[in-house]
């Protein structure tokens, strides 16, 4: 399973990078979703609390909410992934990032790669 060591993870299968605070979804989540056909993300400047929905990912069959791993203001949105959602499928950790927030300061209480792997194996 592809779970990069340098990222932090949530139980809802989002990841956040340190210290640049880019947010995306994991390869495991992408695999579960199947063909991703549509993504909705917030506008730059929006303030969101940890655990709040920041958008949706839609596959051929289902819609899934995306949840903020940390609280913060959205500073960038990946326009490329909005235009071609399939890029998320092939590269969820690099080109498939979704949004960037101002700070990853409160990411320390999230799961490590090792913990996330254990979590996914259990579920």
């Amino acid at each position: 399973m592809n779970i990069p060591n340098e990222l932090k993870y949530t139980k809802d299968h989002e990841w956040i990078s340190l210290p640049d605070a880019k947010i995306g979804v994991t390869a495991y989540a992408v695999e579960q979703l199947g063909d991703i056909v549509h993504i909705e993300l917030p506008e730059v400047g929006k303030e969101l609390k940890q655990g709040a929905s920041f958008g949706t990912i839609e596959s051929t069959k289902t819609v899934s909410d995306l949840y903020m791993p940390v609280s913060g203001k959205v500073t960038a949105v990946n326009q490329a992934v909005l235009k071609s959602p399939e890029s998320l499928q092939s590269d969820p950790y690099k080109n498939g990032w979704l949004i960037q927030v101002a700070s990853a300061a409160d990411a320390h209480d999230l799961m490590s790669a090792k913990d996330y792997e254990a979590f996914v194996t259990e579920h």
């Binding site: 199947g34 063909d35 056909v37 549509h38 909705e40 839609e58 596959s59 051929t60 069959k61 819609v63």
Partner: protein, 373 residues
Amino acid sequence: MSDTNTTSRKTPLYDEHKAAGAKVIEFGGWLMPVSYTSVLAEHKSVREKCGIFDVSHMGEVRVKGPGAENFMQHITMNDAAKLKPGQGQYSALLNEAGGMIDDLIVYRLGQDEYFICVNAANRSKDFDWISKQAESFNVTTTNESDQWAQLAVQGPNSLLAMRAVVDPSHRHALEELPYTNVMRAKVSGRDCMVARTGYTGEHGYEIYLPADHAVTLWKSLLATAPQTGIAPVGLGARDTLRLEACYLLYGNDMNDQTTPLEAGVAWAVKLNKPGFIGKDSLVKQKAGGQKQKIVAFKMREDGIPRHGMTIYWRGEPAGFVTSGSVLPTVGGAGGMAMVSSSVQENDELEVDVRGKRKLATVVKRPLYSAKTK
């Protein structure tokens, strides 16, 4: 993804699906493959080459006896008397109010013999209804659902794939088989029934075969892949394919509260034939009481319509999405909706996609039509 649900049934091909790496879901009481590789890739393989579907969960009912024709005329909405042996038709069982108990394919096998293909989730309901109505007719009704497996072979290369598995003595008849007709044929060495029908909008076949022959035939058909490009297709692509072709899905697009006039299949209702269950209600509805109807629509803005979403027309709620999805071959997204009868083709609609109203346009059905079917 509850593939451990012990109350759900498995088709004879369940192990083949698991071995092929399928994602399995519960559907209508059955554990069925939703996709093997990806919904979009499987969709494409049917439109461009060939796909094979396990549809063994569908039910089969045989009606036999001197009263068979009168009985079928009484319980179904289409004209079953018009069928010659070997011909089939789209039809439905209606209740007294004209609501659809189920939609079906009815085949006439002989002067006094019919074979009905029913939806998986409605197998028991339909058979109970049919048996109850049969009491006053000179017919026997048999639920043969457990004896039959069913495979659908669909796509431009479907004839090529079928030719490879059908006994040479039946090849000519297979090639000449008209749309919706059925024939008996030896397929991979066993007696089967082959119908030129389908649920994808492509040229294709549905094979009714003994349940214990399913694995053999499944493998024989997949072995034609180098010539035909045949690939297994799950329920995910089955849904996007049928939606582009605007075929109804029972339970989504209509149910026993929906009349066939509302569901847009008036072409299969024969009000000029002798009385049948539901006829009086349909005659009344046709005379002026039809308030809603199914339309096809395409999205003009981002967002994917889904079952149950509210439709707005001229600013007011006017119905709901019955089926919606991305439309892989047509492009964009769209679907079918049950809306006020006042809504017309080319009208602008708005679909409430999770709180945001997105523009759509009513278009002619079907959304997709193959050059040859």
